[in-house]
């Protein structure tokens, strides 16, 4: 079920992506504009409410831009961090861990990849929403089987 959940989460339609131009422009400047279904709307609200300390960097935007992105993601602002006090992460979701368990930990840290946030390093079609397994190519590694 975890695999199915992951696939379903990634099956974002181009229409949904193009409906969020501010999200793509603002968030996509530093990293892939991740398929929005990978977090819940509440989780997106938490992320957007903490852009000044965004996983260790300042990703702040002005108020009007923040409102626009939140609207596009249907994310409720003024969302508090949960009990863990940590921002939600796509890469700690059970389906993500399950889908990537065969990838050596070192592969995420290699100079070509840098971090698990860099989807495009291995998923060449990530910008188009293509995360199909047969297109995966880990830099310096073997083709994903």
């Amino acid at each position: 079920m975890a695999i199915f959940g992951g696939r379903a989460a990634l099956a974002e339609t181009p229409a949904a992506a193009s409906a969020a131009p501010a999200y793509r422009a603002e968030c996509g400047a530093c990293h892939l504009a991740y398929p929005t279904r990978l977090l819940t709307t509440r989780e997106w609200g938490i992320v957007l409410d903490h852009l000044e300390d965004h996983y260790g960097v300042d990703a702040s935007v002005d108020g009007a831009t923040l409102t626009r992105v939140a609207k596009q993601l249907e994310a409720p602002l003024a969302s508090r961090l949960g009990d863990t006090g940590r921002l939600p992460r796509i890469t700690t979701k059970a389906w993500f861990v399950d889908e990537h368990h065969e990838v050596a930990a070192g592969a995420f840290r290699s100079s070509a990849v840098k971090s698990a946030a860099n989807c495009t390093a291995c998923h060449a079609g990530a910008e188009r929403g293509n995360f199909e397994e047969d297109t995966v190519r880990v830099p310096g590694g073997k083709r994903h089987e």
Partner: protein, 135 residues
Amino acid sequence: MRRFPFLVAATLVASGTHAATPDDLLRGYARQARAEVARYAGPSAEAGRRFFTTRHSDWSCASCHTSDPARPGRHAVTGKSIEPLAPASNTERFRDATRVEKWFKRNCNDTLDRACSAAEKADVLAYLLTIRQGT
């Protein structure tokens, strides 16, 4: 009426509206620095180069933009490629005061853990304007 275009340009920069040129922005930061610093000597491309390449924390500007801003950079955390910063290589750079301020705010916080002064911004922009494509 000769001064009219200059007034328009100054107003655009000051109010953070669109359609500036890198030179407009440089003049705007220099003007701001003159108001902030006694006997401000004007922008220094050499000081800007040092500022750009010096590590202020774990990072320098060059950590992501490389020490050759005529060429593409790469985000130090996410690995995403970054378009060249030097206006000679990328004509979209330093054309929008609001956008420029957004990135100075973020990147100065990340790199220096504080805001950059107008003089520092002027120096960096003066440096970037000395860079020619393919150098």
